[in-house]
Symmetry: C2
Subunit: 316 residues, 2 copies
DNA sequence: GAAACGATTGGAAGCGCTTCCATGATTTGT
DNA sequence: ACAAATCATGGAAGCGCTTCCAATCGTTTC
């Protein structure tokens, strides 16, 4: 038993001869190691837990895709849960996951309830926060600055000559990513003279974006640009402009955020912020794998960056 | 120890008094049961494995979302893997998952390599195949008839007076779902007189759909309708028509498949086939839960149905 | 009031591995 | 050639639970 275990775990202290025999026996018997027993004995499960707000949304599931790829290559597997943007549900899922003794845990965002934060801190395993940045991670954060990206995107609109810009965002306290985008917008606005900054909130959906366009066009005679906090809303807005014959970007410039694949295809194509989400997931998984192999010299703040992609919706 | 276990598992044979004491002690000590040990002892992990072609695609991740919701409500958790449409990778993932002794496994589609099929058959756990139908499931299939849906969709185009229809599909043998859609199209075509059926293959992407439109318009002077095997291709095609000023549905009727959210918002809105994917996932999970609770009287072929949604892209 | 019974409870075995330890085999140094 | 060190191997303990069994206790029945 001891020797078989050594063979399976690739220990050095096994003679080539014995290894051969054991391997043959394993093949002949069709023996499949029981990883549950291994997990218990070795105090290491090879399971990684990941919690995202919603599995059905590309922005989040692409991160998971990246993680799954890297983890699978290292013999580890992913457990996944969806919080539905609820702190309460998220805590429940975290508790359920921790009872399964994962080797590490990934959570989306950097703003958590006190209960969640303390649970994660006491978990004793690597905790990766993703999709945003913070100076004060629970353990390690892998993301990009939603604040900076929003600043750069808004600056692009200003550079194009716009002096009145509407920032369209989701419900209050919906999540830290869009809050930081709004904060970046506000910050830049406060540094500019003769600049009119407005904010409108709507549902994060195509219809929400469309509604935002309708409201905005109805309430003021002159709107120069709308800076949507997500591509979903921006595309919804763009399509509403198509329907109403509003010239984009002639009458109204539009920007999004996320670079969904539709952003490049729609007419006019959409200026947005691109983030390599699959890469972010891969990076998170690589850090986890590294940490579990004993590397404690890893950075705790990992910026995967972003890229402003200017397309037709802002180019006159 | 025995008694504590009985309390935790809600056994009947514990006095209210003892239960009270144990519960209090658990709360005070902040004891968290180790589900790994439980899994080993009880020979039941409470883990469900799910394999989909790609996690980042809404069509598949929505199913996972539905499963995760139901499973979480029953104290079970999801392990997830992505095959990237490769039989080889899929088998690797299945093997890796089975070593973790999941209580059930979900796989996408009903056409599998011989190795995969036999591995699943011998696994000894409930196997759910999803997103299509077959008369010969490995164990249980939860899905809808891609064949029938395609027939109905094509019939709608014929009813609208179209006599030349292009079916746009993906690469050969890409997956059983789009193959069945093509088969449905062919079958209906073969029953109609004076009907011209063409097939074109392209990449399953917006750009692929656009390319299909370009090729089709260039090669023939009269095309009446294009029936795309997926909404992604259809939307790509529709946007290409926008760019070229091709009137949809006046000059060219277009249909998709999947009812992605964009289908309802795009201009003109897209006629497509709607499937409740989250519901499909929920149903699959409910069957799993039921089976694990010992119910063996469940149907092995579960049709969750589909709905043809006619929108502007086919309505003259 | 004694026998019989069912409801509770504690204890031990065991789930299938990993890991430590002791033993024996082999190699190295001198 | 011999002692010391190194390596390979089998065996046993133990990971933290569940579950079975036997023992205990309070009740009911006649």
């Amino acid at each position: 038993m001891g020797t078989v275990s050594r063979v399976l775990n690739g220990s050095v202290n096994v003679s080539a001869d014995t290894r051969q025999k054991v391997t043959a026996a394993i093949a002949e018997l069709g023996y499949v190691p029981n990883l549950v027993a291994r997990s218990l004995a070795a105090n290491r499960t090879g399971l990684i837990a990941a919690i995202i707000p919603a599995i059905g949304y590309t922005q989040h599931s692409e991160v998971i895709q990246g993680m799954a790829d890297v983890l699978h290559a290292h013999g580890m597997n992913l457990m996944i849960g969806a919080s539905g943007y609820s702190d309460e549900v998220e805590l429940q899922i975290i508790d359920a996951f921790l009872a399964r003794r994962p080797d590490a845990i990934y959570v989306t965002g950097v703003r958590h309830s006190e209960a969640i934060r303390s649970t994660l801190e006491r978990s004793g395993i690597p905790v990766i926060e993703g999709s945003n940045l913070t100076n004060n991670p629970i353990d390690t954060v892998v993301g990009y600055s939603n604040f900076d990206a929003s600043v750069e995107l808004t600056r692009l609109l200003i550079d194009r000559g716009h002096r009145r810009i509407w920032h369209v965002t989701g419900a209050k306290d919906f999540n830290d990513r869009i809050d930081d985008r709004l904060a970046g917008f506000h910050w830049l606005a406060s540094t500019c003279n003769g600049f009119e900054a407005d904010v409108i909130r709507c549902e994060n959906s195509f219809e929400g974006g469309a509604e935002a366009v309708r409201q905005t066009l109805a309430s003021v005679d002159k709107v120069e640009a709308m800076c949507f906090a997500t591509d979903v809303m921006a595309v919804g807005g763009l399509l509403e402009c198509q329907r109403r014959g509003v010239d984009v970007p002639g009458r109204l410039a539009i920007t999004g955020f996320d670079d969904l694949t539709i952003a490049a295809s729609i007419n006019p194509s959409l200026t947005t912020v691109k983030v390599d989400r699959v890469g972010l997931g891969r990076k998170a998984a690589e850090i986890i794998v590294d940490r579990l192999q004993g590397n404690n010299q890893l950075p705790h703040i990992v910026d995967v960056g972003f890229e402003i992609i200017e397309r037709q919706s802002t180019r006159q």
